[in-house]
Structure formats: structure tokens, C-alpha cells
């Protein structure tokens, strides 16, 4: 079955530091998305990286995708307190799984002043 999974449950950094959240998945995908969810809110997409892309950037965010190892990473540079949130990777399936977005368990990131 298709499964997306972040490798860490929680990370803690100080403002200004860089941090990387990793994600692994099973089976083939058409794209992988990174979402951020702040407490009590719905998730907001940060980056969508398609299976034929290796890297994508969005401001301080950089996502990579390695389809051979079925893994992805999201790096945040110059972190700020407002980056504190839960970060999810989510995979889009192919074939019978088209239309299904599977989320990982999420990584809690805390950025301390």
C-alpha cells in the first residue's frame, strides 16, 4: 500500500538555524507535497514536487525528491518562530490511487527564540 512517512516525530531548533525534515514513501507516485499545519488550523501547502523533478524551492524552503530511494526532504533555512508547526509530506498515487493524497504522520517542528 502507498504510505508516506516522515522520519522524525519532533525537531527543535533555535531561530536562525536550518532544519531538514525527511520523508520516505512506498510505491510509485506522481508527485509529493509538503504541507504545514499550525495549531488549530487547516494545512497549507508549501511545495509540490513532481516525480520528474529533483528539487524545488520556495523562498527559505527547499524540497528534494529522490524517486530511486523513494525519499524526500524539506529544508528550511534561517528559521523563525512562526515556522513552528507540524510538517507533513503527502504523496499522490497513480493508477487506482489517483485522487488519493496520503499524508505522513507529521513532524512537529519547534523554533525557539
Amino acid at each position: 500500500s502507498q504510505l508516506a512517512e516522515e522520519n522524525s516525530w519532533a525537531l527543535s531548533v533555535h531561530e536562525g538555524e536550518s532544519v531538514t525534515v525527511n520523508c520516505s514513501y512506498k510505491t510509485s507516485i506522481t508527485a509529493l507535497q509538503w504541507y504545514r499545519q499550525k495549531s488549530g488550523k487547516g494545512p497549507a501547502q508549501l511545495i509540490l514536487i513532481r516525480s520528474n523533478e529533483r528539487e524545488k524551492r520556495n523562498g527559505r524552503l527547499r524540497a528534494t525528491l529522490d524517486t530511486s530511494s523513494q525519499s524526500s526532504s524539506l529544508s528550511i533555512t534561517a528559521t523563525r518562530c512562526e515556522d513552528t508547526a507540524v510538517y507533513f509530506c503527502a504523496t499522490e498515487g497513480t493508477g487506482a490511487n489517483t485522487g488519493k493524497l496520503t499524508f505522513g504522520h507529521g513532524t512537529i517542528l519547534r523554533v525557539h527564540p
Binding site: Q45, F88, E92, G99, K100, L101, G106
Partner: protein, 112 residues
């Protein structure tokens, strides 16, 4: 600009009672619509998606049903709530199935 609205914001219901949650999208015609459920501190689980009016695909069965009575409206319901239905319900929309999903503010449900 597109806006997504969910109602109610929060609900406390008794086990065995019925439930109806709503979602509307303004500013976008023929969106793909989705329902998700999130247990407290848990991940998001996709429940249903709909490509067009009157058509709903079930992804996970949790004794819930969904309907799309209008192009801009998606309804999640059940006739009998279970304790396990407690959680955060999120509606989302996208342009295509394999595209960015935009989430609503969510409805928090507590079943007692």
C-alpha cells in the same frame, strides 16, 4: 480569489445522534472537493473526494457518507455518531486531482 468555508466551526454531539458538516467553495467553478479527518495529534486521512456534482468517491469507510448536491457544496454526514468520530474535519479543493489542495479552516467535533 477563492474562499472555502466550513460549518459549523465546532460541535459537541451525543453518541448515536446524526451529524451534518458542510463545506462551500466560492470563486471557483467545478472544483475537485475532498473531505479529511484528523484525530487529535494525528495525521490527515482522506475520506471522500468528488470530481463533479452528484459524484462522490469513498476512500476510507468510517460509517460516514458524503454528498455533493451543488457544484460549490460538499456535505459530510452520518445518521449515527460513534465516539471514534471525534476529531477535526477538513474540507479541501483543487483544480485537478493531482494538484495542490487548499484546505478550509476545519470543523472540530467532539462526540460524548
Amino acid at each position: 480569489a477563492q474562499t472555502i468555508h466550513q460549518w459549523p466551526v465546532a460541535e459537541i454531539k451525543a453518541v448515536g445522534s446524526p451529524l451534518s458538516l458542510g463545506c462551500t467553495i466560492k470563486g471557483k467553478s467545478s472544483p475537485n472537493l475532498y473531505w479529511y479527518w484528523q484525530a487529535t495529534g494525528g495525521t490527515l486521512q482522506q475520506l471522500f473526494y468528488s470530481i463533479t456534482v452528484g459524484q462522490v468517491e469513498s476512500v476510507v469507510q468510517l460509517n460516514l457518507s458524503a454528498s455533493r448536491p451543488k457544484d460549490d457544496q460538499f456535505i459530510l454526514s452520518t445518521e449515527k455518531l460513534l465516539l471514534s468520530h471525534s476529531g477535526f474535519y477538513l474540507c479541501a479543493w483543487s483544480l485537478d486531482l493531482q494538484d495542490t489542495q487548499y484546505f478550509g479552516p476545519g470543523t472540530r467535533l467532539l462526540v460524548l
